[in-house]
């Protein structure tokens, strides 16, 4: 494969491109869906393809194809070049790429448990172990859906500046979503698990332990009341902090979105959060769901500091935005698969822990909410965010009180970051999948924090 890709690069150079890169991928994916103790379907798929990206006269031309023979790959290079030329007449500001150290490397994996060697029957057994625990511990359980996926992927990256990277990747992921009803109350609980180190994800999260946690959350919600709407002080748990850091702040600091007018554009180098806020996007956490060695532009991953003690000091870049900001690429260019061109994506994004105990976070709050687990989050470039919450509690006189359901919080990201009063030490990362036109595997997280006020949507 390697030789063919290098020849294709030469062809591009002969045509007169400014830059050409080829990404070739081969992947084997196994996925399983179970519902209420039964196996709905087991899937196993194989795919292979090439993505060719050409920069010519300041414009991008891209062609993707599943045909990886010599003739098809060469034709893809020519077509991509033609697309770029045709577009170049319209380009006002030409695309330029920041310089990077071009790498030649071959990354091989040594997974503790390669998912390809685990029999499907064992995977089904582990998944159904979760299902069985949920149903047996909570008799009000109505449904339990579990989706499991493992991917083994082989990737080649070459470009006309000399990069030549071969890397293998392993992803193992599963998600549990269960519902329960009692009288007229509907409760649901869900969580995702993921790893890039192998099938040991089930060692770290044994099926029974996962089931116990889901059953517990369902039980709490069935007892829960609806919240009061309005503005309240709150303690956000690690899981909610993660989604807030990712959705509300992280996207604003993806340099393509920053350039597109996100509210942090005018604030670079300035104070945007309280002193206790430090945020990283880190591709180097071993085994974490958002970790990898090289991004899809062949740039080595790194631990990128975004906010230091309240000051925004960095953004997440690809080569194009790094050039625009006169900065360095940070290894954040990722593509879902060969069908897509890489765009700026997060990796493992988290708030750095500090030294408060959880009780100290609660203590000064007379009445407020403790938001423990999220249901979904979304943000807008203008800095408004929204986070749905699946598990929440009242805080009364500094202590966790009764459970609350169907809750969500919203507000302005920067105002909220300024209102972070105290940061705890109970750090954790949470695997997830992020959509930005393409899917990316990520983690987000942090410790619990106390926020002076957030807007709570409720029906009280």
């Amino acid at each position: 494969m390697d030789d063919l890709l290098l020849e294709a690069v030469k062809l591009g150079e002969k045509l007169g491109v400014e830059f050409v890169e080829l990404r070739c991928e081969e992947s084997l994916r196994t996925s399983i869906t179970t519902k209420d103790g039964g196996v709905e379907v087991v899937r196993e798929g194989f795919e292979k393809g090439v993505n060719v990206r050409v920069l010519a006269r300041g414009a991008w031309g891209v062609v993707s194809t599943s045909k990886t023979d010599r003739q098809s790959v060469f034709r893809a290079v020519e077509d991509a070049y033609r697309l770029a030329l045709a577009l170049s007449q319209k380009v006002k500001e030409k695309v330029k790429l920041a310089e990077v150290k071009q790498v030649k490397d071959k990354v091989t994996l040594k997974p503790k448990k390669d998912p390809r060697n685990i029999p499907i029957e064992q995977k089904i057994g582990d998944i159904l172990g979760v299902d069985k625990t949920v149903f047996s511990l909570n008799p009000q359980t109505k449904s339990c859906t579990i989706d499991y996926l493992d991917v083994f992927q082989k990737e080649f990256y070459v470009n006309s500046e000399g990069a030549n990277v071969e890397q293998n990747k392993i992803y193992v992921w599963f998600r549990v979503y269960a519902t329960a009803t009692e009288a007229d109350v509907f409760a649901s609980a869900g969580e995702e698990f993921g790893s890039t180190s192998g099938y040991d994800v089930f060692d770290e999260n044994p099926p029974e332990k996962v089931g116990v946690e889901i059953a517990r959350r369902l039980g709490e919600q069935l007892k829960a009341k609806t919240p009061k709407g309005g503005v309240f002080p709150a303690v956000l748990g690690s899981n909610v902090v993660g989604v807030f850091v990712h959705e509300a702040f992280g996207h604003l600091a993806e340099a393509d979105l920053t350039l597109s007018g996100s509210v942090v554009l005018d604030k670079l180098g300035k104070k945007i959060a309280s002193d206790v806020v430090t945020i990283f996007d880190d591709g180097t956490v071993e085994g974490a769901f958002g970790s990898f060695m090289y991004d899809d532009e062949g740039v080595k991953t790194q631990k990128t500091l975004l906010v230091k003690d309240g000051f925004i000091v960095g953004l997440m870049h690809n080569r194009e935005t790094a050039k625009k900001f006169n900065s360095q690429p940070t290894g954040n260019a990722r593509a879902e698969n060969f069908r897509y061109t890489p765009i700026i994506r997060m990796r493992n994004t988290y708030l750095e822990p500090r030294d408060h105990r959880f009780e100290e976070l609660l203590e000064p709050i007379k009445f407020g909410y403790y938001l423990k687990t999220f249901r979904g989050g979304q943000a807008n470039l203008d800095g408004t965010f929204h986070v749905g919450v699946q598990e929440a509690y009242e805080i009364v006189k500094g202590e966790v009180g009764e459970p609350v359901r169907n809750m969500s919080i919203s507000g302005n990201t920067l105002e909220t970051l300024m209102k972070v009063e105290a940061v705890g030490k109970d750090f954790r990362l949470w695997p997830g999948r992020c959509g930005k036109g393409q899917l990316a595997f990520v983690c987000d997280g942090g410790p619990s924090i106390r926020v002076g006020e957030v807007r709570v949507g409720g029906r009280g």
């Binding site: 292979k48 809750m407 919203s410």
Partner: protein, 447 residues
């Protein structure tokens, strides 16, 4: 078609009970806008097979994007292997039997299929320039034009052997406006059609106008208001609440509040909803669904009365009814996954009044263009709590001023009961075909 039939024969040789081979091919050209300029063009052709087999009432699936006979053989044997690893399901009856394919209109246009890169660049430029010429404060931060065609072939061992092709063309522009240190929320407008009848200038102007009209937003007192939902807002709100509750799978599994309520009043009599798989020029109109049931029109809610649910073959067999043809493969690419229940063209029948007339008759109301966070709704209970942005205060017969920091909270079933009026101008937004809808007494959390 021949290779699909060959694969069906091949799989039958493995001793499986039933087999289905699905083939899809999508070809498209796409031009993208980033920050006020056209920067990227791409072209792709994506084809592959998805094979489902039933062995002892257990389903196995495999796919590949390598469309030669050898990969197909490997794919079939993978599907058989994983089916044997699965567990039997006593409710699993089998794949659909053949039936007469219905005719559909305006789903294929040669001109769309033949859209060149130059055409796509031209459409994109017209859209972009209309937006930028509208007002200097507008930033068109992203946009795209895409045009292409798809082919679907479905063959199964019960004798189904169907093929259909369709086209689609669309352009979209996302904007925001910046003025005196204020940034508006992101706005967007698009048109998406099966035939060559998009108006890029209109998309550009509308996208720009929305952003400009969102400047100088004010906050709002918490309380109950009349809310006029745009089709875009309805699309996100309804999907995560009502649509999920109408899927037979969720009904059967006790995940829907509509379970056991057929024939009962669940909405205002102003509301009639049909899922119309045969809609003329519908974005989701095909002659058959993604497991080989012929497309049809299904009444879901008639003048507020619950009349039906959305079924695929499996859930229909469980309830001893006919599938409504709602099995879809929604992944990109479609051949890479198994079908599940989704609406086709989920249509809210229009009313008599224009949107302008609706504004005139609104005393204290809010017009909501887009919602944020609808995916965090509770699909089982129908409870939602979402941000309305952009949104405007409606006073004196028109949009008075933009609003910020507005959350809408409630339960979808209360919203359905409180529909006071449906406007007369439906449009296609994803799975939804609907006009703006006015709802009384929506709880709004403001400052």
């Amino acid at each position: 078609m021949e290779i699909c039939e060959k694969a069906v024969k091949l799989a039958s040789g493995f001793g499986v009970d039933e087999v289905e081979v699905y083939f899809s091919r999508s070809m498209a050209v796409r031009v993208e806008v980033e920050r006020n300029q056209i920067v990227k063009a791409d072209r792709f052709c994506d084809e592959g097979f998805g094979v489902r087999v039933i062995y002892n009432r257990s389903i196995g699936f495999s796919y590949t994007n390598h469309t030669n006979l050898k990969s197909l053989e490997e794919t079939v044997s993978r599907a058989v292997k994983v089916a044997k690893a699965g567990k039997p399901d006593k409710d699993r009856k089998g794949f659909p039997a053949p039936s007469k394919l219905p005719e559909v209109k305006n789903t294929y246009d040669k001109r769309v299929a033949e859209t060149s890169l130059e055409d796509a660049v031209e459409i994109t430029s017209r859209m972009l320039n209309s937006a930028l010429n509208f007002d200097k404060r507008v930033l068109a931060f992203e946009g795209l034009t895409v045009a292409g065609e798809s082919l679907k072939i479905l063959v199964n061992s019960n004798g189904v052997s169907y093929t259909d092709k369709g086209t689609g063309i669309g352009c979209l522009l996302s904007t925001l406006a910046k003025d005196k240190g204020e940034t508006t929320p992101t706005c967007f407008e698009f048109e998406h059609e099966r035939t060559y009848k998009i108006n890029p200038e209109k998309v550009g102007v509308e996208a720009a106008k929305q952003a400009i009209l969102s400047l100088n937003a004010k906050t709002l007192e918490t309380g109950f208001y009349e809310v006029i939902f745009s089709p875009h807002a309805l699309e996100s709100l309804l999907y995560y609440t009502l649509v999920n509750a109408l899927k037979a799978d969720n009904v059967q599994r006790g995940k829907s509040k509509l379970k056991g309520r057929l024939g009962e009043k669940i909405a205002s009599e102003n509301l009639t909803i049909v899922d119309d798989g045969l809609l003329d020029g519908g974005l989701n109109t095909w002659r058959f669904d993604d497991e080989g049931t012929v497309s049809k029109k299904t009444v879901l809610v008639e003048k507020g009365i619950l009349k039906g649910f959305l079924y695929d073959k499996y859930t229909a067999d469980k309830d001893f009814v006919e599938s409504t043809g709602n099995a879809q493969r929604t992944t990109i690419p479609p051949y890479s996954s198994t079908p599940h229940i989704e609406p086709t063209n989920f249509t809210i029948l229009p009313g008599k009044n224009t949107l302008e007339k609706m504004f005139e008759e609104t005393v204290k109301g809010i017009y909501v263009l887009h919602l944020q966070g609808a995916h965090s709704s509770n699909p089982e209970s129908g409870e939602f709590s979402v941000v309305a942005t952009p949104a405007w205060m409606v006073e004196k017969g028109g949009l008075a001023y933009p609003l910020k920091g507005v959350m809408l909270t409630g339960v979808i079933y209360d919203v359905l009961e409180n529909v006071v009026e449906v406007a007369d101008n439906p449009r296609k937004v994803g799975f939804l075909v609907a006009p703006p809808v006015k709802v009384a007494k929506v709880r709004v959390v403001g400052k």
